[in-house]
Symmetry: C2
Subunit: 187 residues, 2 copies
Amino acid sequence: MTAPARPGPRDRLLAAARDLTYRHGVSVGVDAILKEAQVARRSLYQHFGGKDELVAEVLRATAAVDERRYADGLDSGGDEPRARLLALFDRLAEFTGREGFRGCRYIAAHSSLTSPEHPAYAVIIEHKDRVLAMLRAELDAMGHPEAEAAAIRLQFLVDAVLVEEAVRPGLGAAGLVRPLVEAVLDA
Amino acid sequence: MTAPARPGPRDRLLAAARDLTYRHGVSVGVDAILKEAQVARRSLYQHFGGKDELVAEVLRATAAVDERRYADGLDSGGDEPRARLLALFDRLAEFTGREGFRGCRYIAAHSSLTSPEHPAYAVIIEHKDRVLAMLRAELDAMGHPEAEAAAIRLQFLVDAVLVEEAVRPGLGAAGLVRPLVEAVLDA
DNA sequence: AAGTAGATAGACCGGTCGGTCTATCACTGG
DNA sequence: CCAGTGATAGACCGACCGGTCTATCTACTT
């Protein structure tokens, strides 16, 4: 009957920052994060050096989770690349329909960041590049004649779903793009 | 040889806020806006009551301009609805390629606004609704069998172009979505 | 048991936030 | 000529921003 062994300050900071920056944007104050994490002010600067690095680290962590989610989404479609990509958009429909969905963290962060010097900036771009590469790998595997352009188009559609569903919750964006996904795949 | 008759404080505030909120987001400080507009602090609160209303008013003003731009884009395609919609995306390519393009002001504002109570919130939704209606009108005119869904899909594509071109400048997003636009139109 | 490293609370720093206020100035119409 | 109106500059307000600092406490090491 041991206590749940609450995580250390570093992990609590990451978790709190992950939630708060998603709900309120990366402009949330450090005070709010510290309060939510129940962590001493000093611990933040000890572990991350400052708010900017904490934000970047949060995005690094969520990017890993999200990329795993994409990979799982593909795998849920089986072995055939076309089915795998269609399955990815099916999982996207579930994801955007979940309580608390508030859009794409990375796109929101990108438009909030003032300067490209912010350490989170590169994290965002690299995440998008890796997702693009995942899409491209499937298109290569299915022998798509225009794999690079098609991969970019699929990413457009993924991002469009994330953005529009945030602006108009309940729209069913993922279902609406289905025919467009098929159009890309069958080109 | 009269002086250019510089606009009054209200118009200077709107112009400065329009530029600064686009370049730095709606979170720009009022001090920066006042300095740029060369207007007394008091004038802002006299004319707009506060920053939130100023931001909302800026979006109202730019929405009118942008909707006119969409209408002009359609008109540049002539009379036939299909050609008009394709022309709209051609104009979009020019627009996103312009120096100083920084993405979609409304999507960025939407993700920055903390609460739906912000007066700018409704302005954003109404703007998107009006653009959607413009697209839908063309699809109705061309007798598209699924006009409503197709209009939403076209708006997805418009927004995707605006978002992606902001994240990856020089990508040529508008050109890349062309085949998808045609797929929507020919469905 | 003593020493040490890390976490704690919270005061404190200069700077900026949005917003209010006073006082002065320029222009207008009676 | 003078009153009224609206714009001006800028001091000022409390709140909050990100960040530093001191001091205390806890837990693990040896």
